[in-house]
Amino acid sequence: MLRRNIRLRREYLYRKSLEGKERVLYEKKRKIKEALAEGKPIPTELRNEEAALRQEIDLEDENTAIPKTHIDDEYANATERDPKILLTTSRNPSAPLIQFVKELKFVFPNAERINRGGQVISEIIESCRAHDYTDIILVHEHRGVPDGLIISHLPFGPTAYFGLLNVVTRHDIKDKKAIGTMPEAYPHLILNNFKTKLGERTANILKHLFPMPKPDTKRIITFANQSDYISFRHHIYEKHGGPKSIELKEIGPRFEMRLYQIKLGTMDQSEAQIEWVIRPYMNTSKKRKFIGD
């Protein structure tokens, strides 16, 4: 297992190093394709290599056509299997936090919750890898109010750190009958306003926590971004009358998330490279928006 990991890591680094050359090649092929499609003469710098490149173009299929970047590489094969999530908390959680984590277990399909006890993070992650989990989610709190969420993709994937605000749990709504039970069908996802590169990356991380749903499921989970604050909402919809009438009923917890860090390793790798970190002390930070509009 260790050697396999080492090999995979070496492959990854090799592919990362090849990226530059591959990109150049890809660009050339693209130019030729364009020229051919439009009927224009092939650009002069490619004239010598044109024949060889043309042959390669003919042999390409959809997999090889797009150059692979190392950035979302972790999720390249993630769609082959359904995600398997482990949920846990920080140490000595309070009762409201335990309730919140219980709710989250129903939000994410195929999720398992374990008690934290006195385990060390690295232990947890090792055992997760051994049992083939794809993601691990950690929830932190402040005096009963959940205030932190850490999502770590498992083989050696990225870790995203979020801060939670304005948390409203299902337990707060006392009327149990009104809420009812939470449905457990695979939900549809709506990711709104994730426009920048960082936004796309975050969207990817959040997307791959959920399995592929059936097309006709009634459960919707929304991550809506507004000026770097991502709102999480969980609804069930019903179509009463014609095609245009939709009735939404909100179930599940509701909170705002604020991304403050993305690391390129798992939680226990403290020396992993930081992909992005929030910088609130900059003078221009008030004007800039990192995730979307």
Binding site: E62, N63, A76, N77, A78, T79, E80, L165, N166, H188, L189, I190, L191, N192, A203, K207, H208, F210, P211, M212, P213, I220, T222, A224, Q226, S227, D228, Y229, S231, R233, H235, Y237, P243, K244, I246, L248, E256, R258, P280, Y281, M282, N283, S285, K286
Partner: protein, 546 residues
């Protein structure tokens, strides 16, 4: 009168010496002395008067009224000059000393005359009781003063002017025709008629105020001031309407004030000022009130500026330089560089839900898409059972098996697809190459002999990919390489007969070849000829007609 001045003086003295009761009863002698006295005074005053119609006072055959009129005529023009002079002397008190020194003796004489004149006035005109009393008191005050001499001239002039002023209550603009006092009286009557206000009451109030204010002053002064004020009040509007004094200042009040100040020195100035202020309160306009407010504000601000600033206004303040726990009370304002957390309102929730509904209607979700991956193993070949009866007989099947065992190369190929065959051959070659690269001890597979043509190539070139040495040993066996026949003899070994036989053989062969060549040439020539001739459309020899 031979010596008018002396007679006059005597007359004055005489008047002074008479008993007061005697003055009450009219007597001709007394009257005559009075006339002479007044004549004397008139002539004394004459040189100072700018212009007067009379050279001397005409007393014969005139009654009191007419005499008074004459005196009036004389003294009227004097008033303004005297007033001016008084003001001037007020401003420059040192000049008065100079003046005084010159006219000391003259003044002494004059003073006495004045006293006598006072008494005369008292006895002649009973109406002016108050004023005379005033004058008496004023005179007494003058005598009390330290610089009595200094004031004497002023006293004389002021006496006159004071009387006049008391009587008139105006300055500058007044003359014979326009009397401010009369104007004010008229206006007051009019307004009282219109508004029905209680003027008298107000005047009384004012008077009280003033009495309260004047603590420092002497009784005499107080009385005098009261009287002054009474007089002033009569002529002043107590109802706080805009009047002449508001714009041009209450000049009447300041004049008696000034007089009293002059007589009493600077001690009572503040009292007088307060007096003045208090008096002003009664009749303030809105503009004046605003000014007052502004003034008070300005004073406050100036006071505040002088004091040390509060700690919040000072620059860098440490905990030691401000009072304890004071930072908790103040609302400190920091500049935050982060956008504040969003407050979730109804509108935001509604907008999110609208967006969700829109997406549902469109069916545009962001679920994960299954990426089609390359199959890592080839699809298994499914062998279908052929249910048709086998075309080959059993014997033939056994035959094929036997051939396969003994001579594998001769066996018929069992592949269904030509392309598959080709592909499998290519793959075998590839595998062979990879094996050669990756194994330390490579042993190639045994070559199956099939009837294939052997090329005359060195053996190593066929078998080894990475030749370590070059060898020129051919794959073919020597007898295959050799392309000769039978026994080969060296040149040295060949016998004579043998040589002859060889030469004859060679000749025969050469001849045969030469004949062949000749016939071939002949045939070619004819063909060429025919062809050439064909072009010219000539009929060949063996043409149609032959």
């Amino acid at each position: 009168m031979a010596k008018p001045s002396e007679t006059g003086m005597e007359a004055l003295h005489h008047l002074k010496s008479t008993d007061p009761p005697a003055l009450l009863a009219p007597s001709p002698t007394l009257s005559q002395t009075a006339r002479t006295a007044s004549q004397h005074l008139f002539s004394c005053l004459k040189p100072y008067a700018p212009k007067s119609p009379f050279d001397q006072l005409l007393t014969d055959g005139f009654d009191a009224e007419q005499i008074w009129q004459q005196i009036d005529l004389l003294s009227q023009p004097l008033l303004s000059t005297l007033r001016r002079q008084v003001k001037h002397l007020e401003k420059h008190p040192e000049e008065s000393k100079i003046v005084l020194k010159k006219e000391n003796e003259f003044l002494d004489g004059e003073r006495k005359i004045l006293e006598e004149k006072e008494t005369k006035r008292f006895d002649d005109d009973v109406d002016d009781d108050d004023m005379d009393m005033d004058m008496d008191e004023f005179d007494d005050e003058e005598e009390e003063e330290e610089g009595g001499r200094r004031e004497s001239e002023k006293g004389e002039s002021e006496d006159e002017s004071g009387e006049m002023v008391e009587g008139k209550g105006g300055e500058g603009i007044e003359d014979k025709f326009l009397k401010i006092k009369e104007l004010e009286e008229y206006l007051e009557e009019d307004e009282a008629r219109e508004y029905g206000l209680d003027r008298k009451k107000k005047k009384g109030e004012l008077k009280l105020e003033e009495e309260e204010e004047e603590e420092e002053e002497e009784e005499d002064e107080e009385e005098e001031d009261d009287d002054d004020d009474e007089l002033d009040d009569e002529y002043e509007d107590a109802e706080e309407n805009a009047r002449y004094e508001d714009f041009f200042g209450a000049k009447k009040k300041t004049v008696p004030k000034r007089k009293s100040s002059l007589s009493n020195g600077s001690d009572e100035d503040s009292g007088l000022n307060d007096d003045g202020a208090v008096e002003k309160k009664g009749g303030l306009s809105t503009h004046e009130k605003q000014l007052e407010k502004l003034q008070s504000e300005i004073e406050q601000m100036e006071k505040a500026n002088l004091e040390p600033k509060t700690w919040t206004m000072r620059g860098e303040v440490t905990a030691a330089s401000r009072p304890k726990n004071s930072a908790l009370e103040v609302d400190l304002d920091f500049e935050h560089n982060v956008r504040p957390a969003p407050v979730i309102t109804e509108e935001i929730t509604a907008s999110i839900e609208d967006m969700i509904k829109q997406r549902i209607i469109e069916g545009r979700f962001d679920d994960i898409q299954k990426v089609s991956s390359l199959p890592s193993t080839a699809p298994k070949e499914v062998k279908q059972l052929d249910e048709n009866k086998s075309k080959k007989g059993l014997a033939e099947v056994y035959e094929e098996e036997y051939i396969q065992k003994t001579n594998p190369a001769a066996a018929p190929i069992s592949f269904s697809d030509e392309q598959k065959k080709e592909a499998s051959i290519l793959f075998k070659k590839l595998c062979l190459k990879l094996d050669a690269l990756s194994h330390f001890h490579f042993a190639p597979k045994p070559v199956i002999e099939d009837m294939s043509i052997q090329a005359n190539v060195p053996a190593l070139a066929m078998e080894e990919i990475a030749p370590t040495a070059v060898s020129d040993a051919a794959m073919l066996a020597p007898e295959e390489v050799f392309s000769g026949k039978g026994d080969i003899k060296e040149e040295a070994e060949v016998t004579q007969a043998e040589r002859k036989r060889r030469r004859a053989k060679k000749k025969r062969k050469f001849k045969a070849e030469a004949v062949k060549r000749m016939t071939k040439k002949a045939r070619d020539n004819t063909a060429l000829l025919n062809h050439n001739e064909g072009n010219h459309l000539s009929v060949p020899n063996g043409g149609l007609f032959s």
